[in-house]
């Protein structure tokens, strides 16, 4: 327990870095999926227009 506390205390900046990277990966994946889903809906809507 003491060892873990010291490890976290000494490397706080790297833990911050890892958390920032995880947050960035989350934002990126969210945007990526959103982009893909919007593209699918756009294709559907435009496809309807062509059918008419």
């Amino acid at each position: 327990m003491q060892g873990l506390y010291q490890l976290l205390d000494k490397n706080a900046i790297y833990i911050v870095m890892i958390i920032v990277l995880i947050v960035w990966a989350g934002i990126f994946l969210y945007l990526y999926n959103l982009d893909k889903r919007i593209r699918t809906v756009e294709k559907e809507m435009n496809g309807d227009k062509n059918a008419k």
Binding site: I13, Y14, V16, M17, V20, L21, W24, A25, F28, L31, Y32, L34, D35, I38, V41, E42, M45
Partner: protein, 234 residues
């Protein structure tokens, strides 16, 4: 597709370099940053705080450009674009204020001290807050778009003064103020080449991120509008 991977890698690199690279009095290795007197370890915020403030200025500019376009062509898609830009602008403006306040707690000793920079961003938040209030108070689509476009153009006139001019000519605590002996204007900051490189990479990465978020924002707004109109027809 390729540019998305590029963006991911770029901002991941900026996060790693900006946070983990050490700040030393005399940098020798390529990964060491110079110590800037008066900023010290707090200087690392420049890689994240400045891009958010920059993006809010870019977003408010796009908001104005598409407002002018709407007034000229009366196309509601342009209104959706200016709305999505303003949403992102206010988000990044709030982010710049919050990251700035957290930084101020450690650099100046308190979260908020009505420094010229803080006062000006507060005024900017109020001005663009009023834009959203104006938008939400009008029912008719065309009227709402026209009025908010006119307001956006007037509101943007204040942005260069509040972001770039007023905090520079007044003396204050923020780096880059008129009486700042350490840093001076932001560009010829006492950064070494590596620090400048990562700073500009960060600006580029955040700008690409902004345009991606903006395109997702306005495309979803336009789609929502289309689907609404279709369901009314049917």
């Amino acid at each position: 597709m390729v540019w998305k991977i590029f963006l991911f890698v770029l901002l991941a690199f900026v996060s790693i370099a900006g946070i983990a690279f050490p700040i030393v009095p005399v940098p020798h290795a390529w990964y060491e940053f110079p110590l800037i007197p008066g900023l010290k370890e707090n200087a690392k915020i420049i890689f994240f705080h400045v891009p958010t403030a920059w993006l809010s200025a870019v977003a408010f500019m796009m908001n104005t450009i598409y407002s002018i376009k709407y007034l000229r062509k009366k196309n509601l898609d342009d209104d959706a674009k200016s709305y999505a830009a303003a949403q992102l602008g206010i988000i990044f403006c709030v982010l710049a204020t919050v990251t700035g306040a957290v930084w101020a707690k450690f650099a100046w000793g308190s979260f908020w001290s009505w420094d010229p920079r803080q006062t000006s961003i507060f005024a900017l938040l109020l001005i663009y807050g009023a834009w959203f209030a104006l938008r939400s108070s009008i029912e008719s689509e065309e009227k709402r778009a026209t009025l908010s476009s006119v307001y956006a153009i007037i509101a943007f006139l204040t942005v260069p003064f509040f972001v770039f001019i007023m905090p520079r000519i007044m003396s204050g605590l923020h780096p880059g103020s008129a009486d700042d002996t350490n840093a001076g204007p932001v560009i010829n900051f006492k950064m070494n080449g590596n620090m400048q490189l990562i700073f500009f990479l960060s600006l580029i990465g955040f700008t690409i991120l902004y345009f991606w978020m903006w395109s997702i924002g306005y495309r979803s707004l336009i789609l929502k509008d289309k689907i609404n109109k279709q369901s009314i027809k049917e």
